[in-house]
């Protein structure tokens, strides 16, 4: 047959309309173009989703999750109506009810609580992207028991960053992708800032810059890293402190930066007899004191022209007060941090540790450069250029989800700071509203008054024992025991302890548990089986121990079956949302930005955006923030709140197109009724760039500080020093040493003294009960899945439909295992029996699996024979929310003793080859739950357009 070719239409119509909104498939929150096409009935339907090229986050690209949004939006697992439980908890038997009935049930439970004791409501949210709104609701209700899921996610990273340098990794900062030459990343889950990181990796590789990946597992970013350091889990802090040791010993540190911009020169009270021993010396205005090299005399750190001296000491009344940097020298020059001393524990050779430290030094100092930006610092000194040090770092859950995670994260920030690489060209940069020191954040509030709001925001940053959330009698004010002596600096709360504590009545019983988008009966809890029992257990009177559970979700997740009342949420394409500067914004290092979601399609079910439901419910309960003076409903829905709420005068949820004296403006301004239309017209987002010269050295840059005030990020300039030495931690130590009114219980004194070191330390996490369990076990997130959501997505589950347990080659041989064999994996807490697969690019003492692929039969509208429900499994069964009992009758949380961060990655296991289970299913194999939404179709032939 000779060559023939048909004539093609090369310019077919792409769509009937493009609607631009914000993705919801992970915490990245990219801009998306939703292509709409008319279906055969003439209705506009979602046809295709791509990235928005103009958007500050993703600049047109989009990941697999985002592109598969159409399958998420149309998933058969969508809830269809409010429901009330008719069977027993955990069965999944429900009856559809009206919104009116749902509200009146909720009101009948919540009103009496508010009138008598608001703490009986625990309101916790999971993958919530509206925390500034949900926290306002909880505050107005008056319960102290509110938090989102940061406590079991990565609070160590957030808190360590903010306490140390006034900003954190997560999506709150980024490497200077345009100038960095060496990018070192530790333990990064690929679901925060994921597209920007992928874009950044592509960008720096194109320039020939290099990447060092530190992770026990060589997948994803680590697979493309130029160098891979397969560290032993939980030892990152030790590895980092060893590099700090090498760099200090070699003098490869940025002394100018340390002196000018950090507390390294701040004098520490050296009087061992003083109740202020170890605290920073301050002048009468509370300013930290340094020795000025010009005069040799003490001076406040921010005095014009002062040259802080890193070396000088001050002797007063026979006592020598030394600067922070002296203490760092004492601590980190010690041979306990020499590479040879740490190599075995870290699983990295001493030679390699030295090589890595030397490479950091080489790039930071030999490849330093100047950017021709003039700027003026907070001391009034004018600079003609900005010094760049092209070494940048990023880290996330991998280093933070350990019981030594807070100090490890602090150690990493210390490494960044001694190299002089934070907020400088080529280094790590903050995104507005950061930098913002811990002292500029609220403190936690917990004062409960019946029928009245809480006395302030729930979450915040403590600066000493006085800020703890304790009742008069010293007992915990919060159900999760956040901000107590057990974990004083728990800035994000401890969501992983809520059900366990409520069930135990420790510190007290609650009446109603109200949760949003939190799959607590499955992959979001440690000890999944135990949590299911806690949710279903009844007391002697036949009542559930946790009496009432209200749950809101868009989908038929495992948690739905464990609730009494279901408030069905919409999909992300059917709702209003704001990606707000008051919350977790989408800014860039060079720009302030926020965004909206808006209903590009209306729901075809009896569902409502959860935030709109809270507006209704808040008004019914008469919550002051949701009620007008005349008692009428204040916000008709979430969109109304987004436009009209003012957190402070002129500052609302959205910063774009606010009403100023001379018309619309960004930043401050009064509400603008057309604001959402302005956003939609602009592609769903608002962006305003930081002026050149203000966009580096932000914590100390006078132009940036003024710009931030203008934009409403601060109310006054907030220049500050980085805190290598954490004074709040020293204050907790002082209390443990017996100083002050508020005293820790005796059983915690020693732990507080040891763990609360004001300079970063590394310690082995509590190994009690781990005898015989020597292998570390981890989970990772696939880039194409977000938590448990991906499995209901017909396209994504074809990428990651099963999750074998990956074992390194040596452990496969040791246990005589081959791919597809089964192994029983045990921990001090439990056992699972699962299929195994070999992976060579893996730390030799670590096994791992993909997170949250395993599903409960009956959930997510999947068939009960779905591989996720038969072979898929959770590691959660092996992890308890408590440490093994110590025989003292106390419940010790499996959490970081400083922040309460859930220590997921401290898990140690043993491996045993076993025969395949008789049913060839992973164990434990739980009975199915009833699906309130039925099952999905047997075939998809998707095509909206004709």
């Amino acid at each position: 047959m000779t060559h023939i070719q048909p004539t093609l239409d090369l310019s077919p119509k792409v769509s009937d309309e493009v609607r631009k909104t914000t993705c919801y498939m992970c915490a990245c929150r990219c801009g998306i173009n939703v292509h709409m096409k008319k279906d055969p009935l003439g209705d506009l339907k979602v046809a295709y989703i791509e990235g928005n090229r103009d958007h500050p986050v993703n600049k047109g690209v989009l990941c697999a999750k985002g592109s598969a949004g159409i399958m998420q939006h149309n998933a058969p697992s969508r809830l269809k109506s409010p429901m009330k439980r008719v069977g027993e908890r955990g069965e999944g038997k429900f009856e559809d009810i009206s919104w009116e009935e749902a509200y009146s049930i909720a009101e009948s439970w919540l009103r009496p609580i508010r009138e008598t004791n608001p703490e009986k409501l625990a309101f916790f949210t999971g993958r919530d992207q509206s925390q500034s709104f949900t926290s306002l609701w909880a505050q107005s209700f008056g319960t102290p028991n509110y938090a989102a899921h940061g406590g079991f996610c990565s609070v160590n990273m957030a808190a360590a960053g903010i306490y140390t340098m006034g900003g954190a990794f997560w999506e709150f900062g980024q490497p200077d992708w345009d100038h960095t030459k060496l990018f070192m990343l530790f333990g990064v889950a690929e679901d925060h800032d994921s597209n920007p990181i992928k874009m950044g990796i592509g960008k720096i590789k194109k320039r020939g810059a290099r990447i060092i990946g530190v992770n026990p597992i060589r997948t994803g970013y680590n697979a493309v890293a130029d160098d891979w350091v397969g560290i032993t889990p939980g030892t990152d802090g030790l590895f980092i402190l060893s590099m700090i040791h090498c760099l200090m010993k070699a003098g490869k540190i940025d002394l100018h930066y340390l002196a000018q911009y950090t507390d390294a020169a701040v004098l520490i009270n050296g009087d061992e007899k003083s109740p202020e021993f170890g605290l920073k010396l301050r002048d009468d205005n509370g300013k930290e004191l340094v020795i000025d090299r010009n005069t040799g005399k003490p001076a406040p750190f921010d005095k014009k022209g002062v040259k802080p001296d890193l070396a000088a000491t001050m002797r007063v009344a026979g006592v020598t007060h030394r600067p922070v940097f002296h203490q760092m020298a004492d601590m980190y020059l010690d041979e306990q941090y020499a590479p040879e001393a740490v190599a075995d524990r870290c699983g990295i050779s001493a030679k390699r540790i030295r090589t890595l430290a030397a490479e950091l030094a080489r790039v930071a100092f030999d490849e330093a450069f100047e950017l021709e930006h003039e700027w003026t610092d907070f001391r009034g000194e004018h600079h003609t250029s900005m010094t760049g040090r092209p070494v940048s770092f990023h880290a996330m859950r991998g280093i933070s989800a350990h019981a030594n995670g807070f100090q490890t994260c602090r150690a990493l920030h210390t490494l960044q700071i001694i190299l002089g690489t934070v907020e400088v060209p080529g280094g790590f940069r903050f995104k507005p509203p950061y930098p913002k020191p811990a002292t500029a954040h609220p403190k936690p509030h917990c004062k409960v008054t019946p029928n009245a709001p809480l006395d302030g925001p729930h979450l915040g940053f403590v600066h000493g024992p006085d800020d703890l959330a304790l009742k008069e009698d010293g007992s915990p004010a919060r159900i999760d025991k956040a901000f107590t002596w057990e974990n004083p600096m728990s800035s994000h709360g401890l969501m992983h302890m809520v059900i366990s504590n409520a069930y135990a009545g420790d510190p007290y019983k609650i009446d109603t548990l109200f949760m949003y988008m939190a799959n607590m009966s499955w992959n979001s809890s440690m000890n999944t089986t135990g949590v299911q029992d806690m949710l279903t257990d009844k007391d002697e009177s036949g009542e559930y121990v946790i009496p009432r559970i209200i749950y809101s979700d868009a989908y038929s997740s495992e948690m739905v079956a464990y609730a009494d009342l279901i408030l069905p949420d919409t999909t992300y394409l059917e709702r209003h949302d704001c990606i707000s500067l008051l919350d977790r914004p989408i800014c860039e290092a060079d720009a302030v930005a926020d965004a909206i979601r808006w209903p590009v399609v209306e729901p075809d079910r009896n569902v409502k955006g959860f935030q709109s439901a809270l507006c209704d419910l808040g008004a019914r309960l008469g919550l002051p923030a949701f009620t007008n003076v005349d008692g009428s409903q204040k916000y008709a829905d979430y969109a109304d709140y987004i436009v009209n709420h003012e957190r402070r005068p002129g500052v609302g949820p959205l910063a774009g197109w606010r009403m100023g004296e001379n018309g619309l403006q960004g930043g401050r301004g009064s509400p603008n009724e057309s604001q959402l239309d302005n956003y939609i017209e602009n592609g769903g987002f608002f962006v305003e760039h930081i002026p050149d010269g203000a966009n580096y050295y932000k914590p100390w840059n006078a132009d940036y500080q003024d710009w931030a005030v203008k934009m409403g990020l601060y109310d006054s300039p907030q220049p500050y020093l980085f805190s290598l030495y954490s004074e709040p931690m020293r204050k907790f130590q002082l209390a443990a040493e017996g100083h002050g009114e508020r005293q820790p219980p005796d059983h915690l004194r020693a732990r507080i003294k040891e763990k609360m070191s004001p300079l970063p330390i590394w310690y082995e996490t509590d190994q009690q009960g781990n005898e015989g369990f020597t292998v570390t076990a981890l989970t990772q997130r696939p880039m194409a899945m977000y938590h448990s959501w991906g499995s209901q997505n017909a396209w994504l589950r074809q990428l990651h439909g099963c999750n074998p347990m990956y074992l390194p080659s040596n452990l496969m041989r040791e246990h005589d295992l081959s791919d597809g064999d089964w192994a029983e994996i045990t921990s001090p807490h439990g056992a699972i029996t699962v299929p195994v697969m070999e992976m060579a690019a893996l730390n030799a003492n670590t096994i791992w699996t993909w997170n949250a692929i395993g599903k409960r039969k009956g959930a997510w509208a999947l068939d009960e024979k779905a591989p996720e429900a038969t072979k898929g499994f959770l590691l959660n069964h092996l992890i308890h929310e408590l440490l093994p009992p110590k025989g003292d009758g106390l419940r010790w949380a499996n959490s970081d003793p400083i922040t309460g961060q859930a220590a997921w990655f401290d898990l140690k296991v043993a491996i045993k080859k076993v025969a395949a289970p008789a049913d060839a299913q992973s164990q434990p194999n739980m009975p199915p739950i009833n699906s309130p939404v039925g099952k999905g179709p047997s075939e998809l032939k998707w095509k909206v357009g004709q």
């Binding site: 047959m1 592109s67 060589r218 493309v224 490479e359």
Partner: protein
């Protein structure tokens, strides 16, 4: 059987950077989305919520572990779709002329109305790049987004395959590999781009850029450490360190 054109005016294709691909599958799903809604029959999925979900994809990412003779094992992400071969055996094997290679740009396509679903082309393709759609009974394959790259309803900047447009790490590049001055040809020259399985004699147009040398900072114990001078100690204990500090600060 079907003839290939004797010559194509361009050789449009993809250059895929294996040094940069993080294996995120963004290209896989973007392709699925675009091609479900556009060229020909939708890419169907069988048992999409069941025990054995199986759908049609025109592009898939495979991951391979590589164990070098020395050093740590590596993981390579390997996206694979039709390579639009110059000597495409999938075309010559087609009994109906449904498979063809375009003269203008060298894109290999299936004319679905002539496809009888015999599957010979999929057998003939050494790369496994074609997939039979189980619902429609026709052969599906990468079209290089022929309905995007010339589409006047799209802004010019978007006239590229959806996998290229969406790739977050910029590991996918599109252009004319027949033009030695094109960006993609220069990239191939610069980075040593490779044919996939050249021994098959298909002369693939798509090119792969190999991963760069890894783990250069991991040295044998007996190797000389050229970075060692960077860590030459200024002092060995606190006292010496503080005196070094004072001297150094004086010079600042």
């Amino acid at each position: 059987m079907t003839q290939l054109p004797t010559h194509t005016e361009k050789k449009l294709g993809l250059v895929i950077d294996l040094d940069t691909c993080v294996g995120c599958h963004a290209c896989v799903i973007s392709c699925k989305g675009w091609n479900t809604e556009n060229y020909g029959a939708p890419l169907s999925d069988q048992d999409p919520y069941g025990a054995d979900p199986s759908g049609t994809f025109l592009n898939r990412v495979h991951s391979y572990e590589v164990q070098p003779a020395q050093g740590d094992a590596q993981l390579i992400h390997f996206p694979k779709s039709c390579l639009h071969c110059e000597d495409a055996p999938c075309v010559t094997v087609c009994p109906t002329g449904a498979s063809y290679k375009r003269v203008e740009d060298g894109i290999v396509l299936v004319n679905e109305s002539d496809c009888i679903g015999c599957g010979l082309c999929a057998w003939a393709c050494p790369y496994g790049a074609r997939e039979m759609d189980a619902a429609e009974g026709v052969m599906k394959k990468c079209t290089l987004c022929v309905d995007r790259i010339y589409n006047e309803n799209l802004p010019e900047v978007d006239r590229e395959p959806s996998c290229v447009r969406t790739c977050p790490s910029n590991a996918r590049h599109f252009g004319d590999l027949g033009d030695p001055n094109s960006d993609v040809s220069k990239l191939v020259a610069e980075r040593g781009g490779m044919d996939l399985m050249p021994e098959q004699g298909t002369k693939p147009v798509n090119q792969y850029l190999p991963p760069r040398l890894k783990d250069r900072l991991a040295q044998d114990e007996d190797q000389i450490d050229i970075l060692a001078p960077y860590l030459a100690p200024v002092a060995t204990e606190t006292k010496g360190f503080l005196s070094w500090l004072d001297k150094t600060l004086e010079k600042l």
